[in-house]
């Protein structure tokens, strides 16, 4: 299986994502710089790391739309191949219209960097099959715009399709709608999440609860999302 870590200017955690693939599933992984993204279709999965794309100017993730890579990414997602965006990568997926919703500044107005308890709301996706339903994970978060917003109608759709994959289990500190921490698109081939599984793949960095996410991708990549 071939993974691309798609890097827009300002994304800083590309190395963490690359390392997570090497550490957990030991597959081919390559950095793809956003101006060289016309070859995306040779990959099986695209990973969008976190950071601060384009300095988070205008809105987090918004200016990524000015890169031709955004169109490539939309086509890649549309084709049914796997896309994972974490942190600012999730912002980019929302701004690109690949996932629904928007992001606001955290309720507490602070950049928050800590470990959160995350509940697996749907273990029946290609990204979460190696977890159990309702499993509690400890995952790092680090963001200033982790406050996911969706209107009632969108939430209804997300719920009906089982697209809400992760929620904040203890405190919903950032103020996300329905305590949402991660969602998929309707097809289930795109996952966006604010917690950072790539920073939880080794005991030495504070935990391994992120490992099963990458193993899920590897073990279940051929399967379609089942609601």
């Amino acid at each position: 299986m071939k993974f691309a870590v798609l890097v827009f200017p300002g994304l800083t955690c590309d190395l963490d994502m690359y390392h997570a693939i090497e550490e957990t599933v030991k597959q081919d992984v390559e950095y793809v710089w956003h101006t060289e993204a016309d070859q995306l279709d040779q990959f099986d999965a695209v990973l969008l790391p976190t950071g601060t794309s384009y300095g988070n100017y205008l809105r987090p993730g918004a200016l990524a739309k000015s890169s031709p890579a955004c169109k490539q990414l939309q086509a890649f997602a549309e084709s049914g191949k796997l896309v994972l965006g974490v942190g600012n990568g999730f912002h980019i997926l929302v701004e690109a219209g690949i996932l629904p919703g928007g992001f606001l500044r955290n309720k507490g107005l602070k950049f928050r960097s800590t470990q959160d308890t995350i509940r697996v709301e749907n273990n029946n996706t290609v990204f979460t099959k190696e977890y159990t339903q309702g499993q509690m994970l400890t995952l790092p978060v680090a963001n200033e715009f982790g406050n996911y917003y969706a209107d009632e109608q969108t939430v209804e759709v997300l719920k009906n399709n089982n697209q809400i994959v992760f929620t904040y289990a203890n405190e919903n500190t950032d103020g996300s709608t329905e305590a949402i921490a991660g969602i998929t698109n309707e097809k289930g081939n795109v996952l966006g999440m604010m917690p950072l599984p790539e920073r939880a793949v080794e005991e030495i960095i504070g935990g391994t609860d992120g490992m099963a996410l990458f193993q899920s991708i590897m073990n279940n990549r051929g399967e379609q999302h089942v609601n």
């Binding site: 918004a62 000015s66 919703g101 928007g102 992001f103 606001l104 969706a150 103020g175």
Partner: protein, 84 residues
């Protein structure tokens, strides 16, 4: 050259964390009459184009990039820029 001023505000239904914090701060320093603050942003464009096309083009820009309609509303004013 025309100057367009775009006012971006959070949609009414969206909770504004900056607005809430600012409301509380104003009340704390004695402005108890303040019941609510909403914080938005202002985008100024200077652009070429005829009067007829500018409105449509600016609406397109807002939809394509400048505004996220999930969370934001906007309105804009079109004015002249004095040529030197």
């Amino acid at each position: 050259m025309t100057k367009v001023t775009i006012y971006v505000t959070l949609r009414e239904s969206v909770v504004d964390p900056q607005g809430i914090a600012t409301t509380e701060a104003l009340q704390k320093i004695g402005y108890e009459e303040v019941k609510s603050v909403r914080v938005g942003k202002l985008i100024e464009l200077q652009l070429d184009g005829s009067e007829e096309t500018i409105e449509a083009r600016v609406n397109e820009m807002c939809n394509d990039l400048l505004i996220n309609k999930v969370i934001e509303d906007y309105r804009f004013e079109i004015g002249e820029v004095a040529s030197k």
